[in-house]
Symmetry: C2
DNA sequence: CCTCTCTAGTTCCTTAAAGAGACTAGACTG
DNA sequence: CAGTCTAGTCTCTTTAAGGAACTAGAGAGG
């Protein structure tokens, strides 16, 4: 299959998806968050083919989401960079949506917040602290808007 | 290419990705949020092939993320269901990550919150209101945990 | 030192999904 | 009643994913 890179759309969602939107990628990142740092651990956990895992890990390292760090005994392992750690929010909201709409037996994983309770996180405005939802925000053009929308044509 | 369905991993992220993790899908949903409800509008905006768009829209309708609603003049258009509207959080955090890490000229789109300011949303605990981040939550098994981890073997 | 194993890949082959573009059915338009 | 517009469907080609076999390099054991 050919696959059109999305970067030509001037859109942060498209640019993010070019990195984290490939099949398996977000699950690999989830695994690294869950403490699986070695190639074979991740491969076994996901049942992914070595070829695809190699490919995805390389892409993530190239884009600075993961880094390879040497460990004792000459091997290396994969660790999240700061850029990678900041994907935590993505995992949380994707998980919560799946918990709500696709998990009839209840969430497989719950998150315990430092306040001591199982949390369901919501998006809050950094200015007023109130909830951010589809019904109370309005998109507008930002500084990076409409610089070439499509490359061709 | 063959593509392994992810549902056999007992994971809400995997189950979400089976629906919204396919190439183009999140951008299609973004377009519907942005007011593009018709097949040709979306196709033209994204430059996606008709075949793939048809396929994605059908999948989303099947999974209850979009619904086809009749409009005047005998045509139909695609609208978000409640399940679809709740993907707003996913779009917000994916966009913000791309804004931060992949948009050197600044965000193409900004969100104005009803409080009157351009907002950068953060995840807040529904219990205490404090931020939820990788460093202050601990995952634990929930009610739906470890019911068959892999289907085979 | 030599063999064995273990990790992290690489290579090869097959299957199927995406891209591109031509074609089509059904509704509406002049 | 011919032409157009919308929302597809069909066909062909390219290429990514799956699966399995093979490999290089480090370490372990005798």
């Amino acid at each position: 299959m050919q696959r059109t890179p999305l970067e030509s759309l001037n859109c942060s969602i498209a640019r993010s998806l070019d990195i984290i939107g490939e099949w398996w990628t977000l699950l690999i990142i989830r695994d690294v968050f869950m403490g699986l740092h070695r190639f074979e651990q991740i491969r076994e956990d996901l049942g992914i083919s070595r070829k695809v895992l190699t490919d995805r890990l390389n892409t993530l390292v190239e884009h600075g989401v993961l880094k390879k760090v040497p460990i004792e005994k000459g091997f290396e392992e994969y660790r999240l960079t700061r850029k990678g750690v900041e994907l935590h929010d993505v995992l949380v909201v994707v998980r919560q949506w799946g918990d709500k709409w696709e998990s009839p037996q209840g969430p497989p994983i719950e998150l315990v917040h430092d306040c001591g309770h199982v949390t369901t996180a919501f998006l809050a405005c950094d200015c007023c602290g109130e909830e951010v939802s589809a019904s109370n925000v309005t998109p507008q053009a930002g500084p990076g808007h409409s610089r070439v929308r499509k490359t061709s044509k």
